[in-house]
């Protein structure tokens, strides 16, 4: 059963520290998304890649967030420096093609980030 793998599952860090979240998309999927879940915004799109190229990162605070795909099997989301307002669950999702087809995208289980 193919799945999107995210690490770490939980992360507690102090304000000002760097945080890196990792995602292994489903093999063969060429589109990767990063979403953040908050109570007020629901699932908020941060950035997305197609064929490893960044297509849209307009949802990301550029001064502290960065997203990359060093290769087709790894996507990273980095926050430096982290702030308490970054506390949320961060989801990675992957899919095929421009729209993800009938099923949309497959999500990982998320990284719960707490910044104290």
């Amino acid at each position: 059963d193919a799945r999107v793998t995210q690490t770490p599952r939980d992360k507690v860090t102090e304000m000002g520290q760097e945080v890196t979240m990792r995602c292994q998309p489903i093999l063969g999927h060429n589109t990767v998304f990063w979403y953040r879940q908050t109570m007020m915004q629901g699932l908020e799109l941060l950035a997305y890649f197609r064929n490893r190229a960044p297509l849209d990162d307009s949802g990301m605070p550029k001064d502290r967030f960065s997203a990359e795909m060093p290769d087709a099997t790894l996507a990273t989301l980095k926050i430096q420096p982290s702030e308490p307002r970054d506390s949320a669950v961060y989801f990675c999702a992957s899919g095929l093609g421009a729209g993800g087809g009938y099923y949309g995208y497959t999500f990982g289980s998320g990284t719960r980030l707490t910044v104290v």
Binding site: G42, L43, L45, Y48, G99, Y103, G104, F107, G108
Partner: protein, 115 residues
């Protein structure tokens, strides 16, 4: 600017009855709509979708209705079961157009089905 809105944060329904979850959208360019279901500590999972060329799609106990003129869709669950208790997200996208065809999600509705 919330392009996809779920105005009911929560809904409580008795087992066996119908659950109706609602979603409104503002962008008339959206042409494909999806519902995702999310259990605690898990990622959202796809439930059902509908293209804008249809007004209804059914899959077992789940039916999605689309009213394009009202920019409104709804998810009906009949009969509701305790295992349906989860957060339900509505999502929308444009199927064509390059970088604009990302999934835009609503804020979610927490459904509680009481035994």
């Amino acid at each position: 600017d919330q392009q996809v809105k779920q105005n009911s944060p929560s809904l409580s329904v008795q087992e066996g009855r119908i659950s109706i979850l609602n979603c409104d959208y503002t962008n008339s360019m959206f042409d494909y709509f999806l519902w995702y279901k999310k259990y605690p500590a898990e990622g959202p999972t796809f439930l059902i979708s509908i293209s804008s060329i249809k007004d209804k799609n059914e899959d077992g106990r789940f039916t999605v209705f689309l009213n394009k003129s009202a920019k409104h869709l709804s998810l009906h669950i009949v009969p509701s079961q305790p295992g349906d208790s989860a957060v339900y997200f509505c999502a929308a996208r444009r199927s064509y157009g390059g970088a604009t065809n990302k999934l835009i999600f609503g804020t979610g509705t927490l459904l509680a089905v009481q035994p």
